[in-house]
Amino acid sequence: MDAHALKNDFTVLRNQTLTYLDTAASSLKPDVVLEAMNAYYHNNPVNVHRGVYEMSHVATKHYEQARRDIANFINADFEEVVFTRGASSALNLVALTWGEQNLQAGDEIVTSMLEHHSHLLPWQQLAKRKKASLVYVPLNAEGRITEAALKKVITKRTKILTLTYVSNTLGYKTPLEPIIKIAKAHGIKTSIDAAQAVPHTPVDVKKLDCDFLAFSGHKMCGPSGIGVLYAKRELLDKLDPLEYGGDMNDRVGLYDVEVKRPPYKFETGTPPIAEAIGLARAVQYLSKIGLEKIANHEHHLATLAIAGLQSIEGVTIYNPTTDTGIVNFNFDGVHPHDAVTVFDEASVALRAGHHCAQLVLKFLEVSATLRASFYLYNTEEDVQHFIKTVASARRFFTKVGF
């Protein structure tokens, strides 16, 4: 894979001097994705499922083909892909349907301090409402979820494991395959936050054998406004929907309703049509490059970046053993927001703050950090420019008296 060439697929990288290292917040979008959405808007910008005229039939075909492509991408069945507003909405949907309908007082929900707020808070709040317990699996010294630690917190009352696949802050990959095997053996359900996994590494839901898994379009070269909830068909069959309304029912009476089969049962109203088409195009784009290659490339760049950071004094790295393209660090004595402005001046886009994962920072005992995240359009030159900027920033901070 040739990252230099891939840069040309993105208008923003062609038009601007930009070292974009904030993919973990949102990825850039290649032109082909925008073109696919524009084609929908220009050629048959009509509603789906509702019209029996040709134009609507074509829109429906494209929309449902998009679902098929996205299902294939994670090795799910067509019926197992529910479109949502985003990963956050998908993760909430699990807590608000399966959680509401299955948990009872005294039950235990296992989570981790690595979770993004969008996976932590729905279960934290559900636990409160249900008088269930929220149990944190202890992280190891590096900050990783381990199989051994997990085994220790599982009890007879554990009903679900809610774990991230890849930490958006430390870039660690959770050893999900053995963990989910243990869960299955104990009849425990699993909800997986794959918002930082699906864009960056091959994900196969059948092989993983998880019950629920969520991700967002905008982090994987797709548009804003769409996410995916994968759930096993038998669970979707059993669950009651959260939202009711048009397009999710077969028959409406004054006081009752017959709902459709999955996935439609969970998708009321006009769906994100252009967004689904755009996301399917993104999936095709990523598949063509190859997810294995993307994963290796990102990790290679992160490794170079870490080596570079280690050569500069007065910089602390929080995840020197990152498994992915995510690097987390700080300038000693400098608040990350002060730092980020220096990077901004060098056209390096970095994330500063708590990364919507305040418990990770609690674990690290810092109030905010800097995060660089690499993706397919980043090159070794980007890493060099990044490291050069770190070095000159360090000099500047020392000079002005931080």
């Binding site: 499922h49 509702r50 019209g51 029996v52 040709e54 609507s56 039939h57 397009d247 077969d250």
Partner: protein, 148 residues
């Protein structure tokens, strides 16, 4: 209007106006399947009774457009007294014809050939196949296959 006239052939209108085998039986030797087209409200129920591998009787009822309702009558007419294997084969060929794919048994499709015009109207393919698929589902169930 030529394409339209090809769609609304006399045979189709005849089955629509004078449906054969219409009305369901309250008889447990029948297997019943109800299929709906969610996008428009076609709603067809098909019953079949199989004896010794032969489709002895087919019944239908429901609401929908002329293509949908007439095809329930046509499929019932055509497949009665066929073996289950013959019936399946005709169903597959019919569906291929509608989908504009190469298909066989042209002569054996008889009245159902009148639906060839549907292939020019992709938005109506579901109308023309819903009864056939419901019938196939009853055969699947007869044979104990997994049914959704």
């Amino acid at each position: 209007m030529q394409k339209m006239e090809h769609l609304y052939r006399q045979i189709i209108m005849d089955h629509y106006k004078n449906p054969r085998h219409k009305g369901l039986k309250d008889d447990s030797s029948f297997v019943t399947h109800r299929h709906k087209n969610p996008s428009c409200g076609d709603d067809i129920t098909i019953q079949s009774r199989v004896e010794n591998g032969i489709v002895k009787e087919i019944r239908h009822d429901g609401t929908g457009c002329s293509i949908c309702c007439s095809s329930a009558s046509v499929v019932a007419d055509l497949l009665t007294n066929k073996t289950v294997d013959e019936a399946r084969s005709l169903i597959h060929n019919y569906i291929k014809m509608i989908a504009d794919q190469p298909f066989e048994q042209e002569d054996a499709l008889e009245d159902a050939l009148a639906y060839e015009g549907v292939k020019q109207f992709p938005a109506r393919i579901k109308c023309a196949t819903i009864a056939w698929k419901a019938l196939e589902a009853t055969l699947d169930e007869e044979e104990g296959e997994t049914v959704e």
